[in-house]
């Protein structure tokens, strides 16, 4: 079914790309590059890549709730901040790192669940209004609870020193940790949004009434998406602490939350690759504008944002499609603005129809 939507004219080139052996080789190559690159690159490049990883994960979390499920969330930075604070507190008090990591995922997830239980009862943009409150409450809260958060002076911890005997520099070790944790989160999320939950999210996003009529509770799936987004936000907070090694109330400021939303839209809404591009945007554009003229960064960033939105409404991830649009006649189902709710390029998606059948029964 999904294969059928692929353009008939997609001749040798794209079908060659679809071949499993080619895909696996490409994947293997990518893995090798990811493993080797940190050893060869400069310290600053590694640190930048690690930062991109941190914010790619944060954008990915936002994508789950906003891109895939269509619920506007302006509070993602709160969960990043919460994860960072939990990590900082755990490390400062000498907790086991694995336990700290688990808590840095769990506590934001629980917080997200509690917020979502209330917020998801509201319809449409009311959720956005509730999520706006999170960073606005978070900043003074972090200042007030100075016993846990260090107040407005923030908390510094450097716990990710490379293990003795590994022969790695700290920046290389940190990048590897980010790659491993971030990679796992990305793979899990990819499976999530491509499976039955992903399809449920897409239907909730598309039309809640239709979702209800199919036995998919919009409320439950909104809460689920929001909780997962918070959990992923917590993971990114852990990575934030690992790479940046400092958190303060400033981390949670509302402006950064808006920047995350902008990064998600620019990278590509409802897209796994788009989340990585969003992370790239979040980290690299300030560096780029700094290189052009440090006193005009805000202006230049605004200009870049507008240019991307005008030229690529589907985000950077739609760039290849936009480039080949002239040469290929894309079918209506795969228009650039249509979110790829049912991914058509996966090797395993041939079974999509049957899976949808079972899912419908499962929720009846």
């Amino acid at each position: 079914m999904a294969r059928g939507t692929a353009p008939a004219s997609s001749s040798t080139a794209s079908s060659w790309m679809q071949r499993p052996s080619v895909r696996w080789t490409a994947l293997l190559l990518l893995l090798v590059v990811l493993v080797l690159a940190p050893l060869q690159l400069s310290e600053f490049t590694n640190q930048t890549l690690a930062r991109i990883g941190v914010f790619a994960v944060a954008v990915l979390g936002l994508n789950v709730v906003m891109g895939y499920t269509g619920q506007v969330s302006l509070g993602q930075i709160f969960f990043l901040g919460l994860g960072a604070y939990v990590t900082a507190y755990g490390v400062t008090n000498g907790w086991n790192v694995v336990l700290t990591f688990a808590l840095a995922c769990l506590i934001p997830a629980v917080a997200g669940l509690l917020v979502a239980l209330a917020a998801a009862r509201l319809g449409g943009l009311a959720i956005a209004m509730v999520t706006v409150a999170l960073p606005i409450v978070g900043v003074p809260l972090a200042k007030r609870l100075s016993d846990f958060t260090g107040g407005s002076e923030g908390m510094s911890t450097s716990f990710a020193t490379s293990p003795p005997g590994s022969g790695l520099f700290d920046d290389q070790f940190q990048l590897y940790v980010v790659l491993v944790i971030g990679g796992i989160v990305f793979l899990l999320t990819r499976s999530l949004v491509r499976g039955k939950y992903g399809r449920a999210f897409a239907i909730v996003k598309g039309n809640e009434a239709v979702a209800s009529s199919m036995g998919i509770s919009p409320y439950r799936y909104k809460v689920l998406a929001f909780t997962i987004a918070s959990l992923i936000g917590g993971v990114s907070g852990f990575l934030y602490m690992l790479v940046i090694q400092y958190t303060s109330p400033e981390t949670m400021s509302f402006g950064h939350s808006i920047n995350l939303v902008a990064a998600m839209v620019i990278g590509g809404s409802a897209s796994i690759v788009g989340s990585i591009l969003g992370g790239l945007y979040y980290v690299l554009v300030p560096q780029l504008t700094n290189a052009v003229d440090p006193s005009l960064t805000a202006l230049l960033q605004g200009a870049i944002l507008l240019v991307v939105l005008f030229l690529l409404p589907g985000g950077l991830v739609s760039l290849p499609r936009a480039l080949t649009r002239g040469r290929r006649r894309s079918s209506a189902a795969r228009g650039p603005a249509a979110p790829p709710t049912i991914p058509s390029s996966t090797t395993g998606s041939g079974t999509a129809t049957e899976e949808k059948e079972t899912e419908r029964q499962g929720h009846a």
Binding site: G154, F169, Y246, P286
Partner: protein, 422 residues
């Protein structure tokens, strides 16, 4: 697609990749552990310095809400060394003459970006300096210690940067919040009549530091009593409620440790509406005559007191002062700052340049070590633009480079130094 086959392929891919990774990790391993810096031979030049140039790095907010003072922190030091470079350069303690270049990056007051800027600069610059902001400087404090990169003469009143035990590679420039608060408290303590004091402070280390200093300044004075103390949050958009409550206390002195410009203006206006007219004590960064006192209608009050250590270039009293004339000309020509400076940070940054030059003159080796030793040995240096009775002292334990301030009273246009409270 056969799922069996997929699993097998996946296993093979992962196995192959891990084997490769292990192999390569073994070959490509580095001998060193931890950070990459600090392995240079003793006495070898540090990064960012050659026989003819020295590069300084700055990360500071150049856009966003704090861009005004942030831009100043770059402009002053850029102007100072721009003028020096044009005159041939700075003569260093090792006998060589070098020009001093500035690399400044915008961090938008975001600690994360400040750390990124530091990571970007640290390999190319000799020292980091002049950056504004407590969280943005704290974000890379530990990294700077680990990398042994000087983070000196920065614009934050946070005491941690002036504690050599905790911060061996750091030194703050501006007075700590406590220094300022204490100076104001001591002035009030010179009063002979009895006074009732109301205190409003920002609920964070900034407000607490000021109040702590102020209270230690009036300690032991029975004729001065604190009748009411309230706080507000830095994120609050209005403090009308607090002002109303404080007004009802009948205090005749109001110590307002507030760092938010619009709130300060509205509190000056609100108190007038309530017909509450005490004498005000204000922190140095929210007492600008042009930006705060005039729009706030400060002329209605019997006295507005603040602290300072730099001459105000706008003040008619200093219009012909040679320091001020030279500074304003350089700021325009080399600092890319066309307007008359709206924030004292421009002047402070100029003094940072002068203080750095003192250290450069004393350092005997082109190393960061030698620079830090030289920087920590400056005594009673009267930097240009400094007010009488203030000086740069870098060897006082636990104190920033400038720890003395004088209290000044608003005279309708600018400030005048006063020695007693009337």
């Amino acid at each position: 697609m056969n799922s069996h086959l997929r699993v097998r392929t996946a296993v093979r891919v992962v196995a192959g990749a891990s084997a490769l990774a292990l192999m390569l990790a073994g070959c490509g391993g580095n001998s060193g552990n931890g950070g990459r810096s600090g392995d240079a031979a003793k006495g070898a030049p540090s990064p960012g310095i050659t026989d003819t140039t020295l590069t300084l790095g700055i990360t500071t907010p150049l856009s966003g809400a704090t861009a005004g003072p942030g831009t100043c922190t770059v402009a002053g030091v850029k102007a100072y060394f721009g003028a020096k470079n044009a005159a041939g350069g700075v003569k260093f303690g090792d006998g060589k003459t070098r020009t001093v270049e500035i690399k400044a990056l915008d961090d938008t007051y975001d600690p994360q970006k400040a750390k990124a800027n530091y990571d970007q600069l640290k390999g190319d610059v000799f020292a980091m300096t002049a950056g504004l902001g407590t969280p943005t400087n704290r974000a890379w404090r530990q990294a700077a210690i680990a990398d042994k990169v000087p983070q000196v003469l920065i614009m934050t009143g946070d005491p941690i940067f002036s504690d050599p035990k905790q911060s061996p590679w750091q030194l703050g420039f501006v007075p700590k919040y406590q220094n300022e608060g204490e100076a104001m408290g001591k002035l009030l303590a010179t009063a002979t009549g009895s006074h009732k004091v109301a205190i409003l402070s920002q609920n964070d280390d900034y407000g607490k530091g000021y109040v702590e200093g102020f209270k230690s300044g009036i300690k032991g004075k029975d004729n001065i009593s604190v009748v009411k103390e309230l706080t507000y949050e830095a994120t609050d958009t209005s403090v009308d409620a607090q002002i109303t409550e404080l007004a009802s206390s009948g205090a005749d002195v109001f110590f307002n440790a507030m760092s938010v410009t619009p709130l300060m203006i509205s509190s000056l206006q609100k108190a007038q509406q309530l017909n509450w007219k005490p004498s005000w004590f204000l922190p140095s960064n929210t007492s600008s005559p042009g930006a705060i006192l005039t729009p706030g209608g400060a002329a209605a009050y019997p006295g507005i007191y603040s602290v300072a250590f730099s001459k105000a270039p706008q003040s008619p009293a200093f219009a012909a002062d040679p320091d001020v004339v030279e500074y304003l000309a350089a700021l325009k020509q080399y600092g890319d700052y066309q307007d008359p400076p709206a924030f004292p940070h421009c002047q402070w940054s100029w003094m940072v340049g002068a203080t750095l030059e003192q250290a450069f003159k004393k350092m005997t080796d082109p190393t960061r070590d030698s620079f830090m030793k030289a920087l920590r040995s400056i005594k009673d240096y009267q930097a240009p633009l400094m007010l009488p009775d203030t000086s740069v002292n870098t060897s006082k334990d636990g104190q920033p480079a400038v720890s003395t301030v004088v209290v000044q009273k608003f005279n309708g246009k600018g400030y005048e130094t006063v020695t007693e409270f009337k």
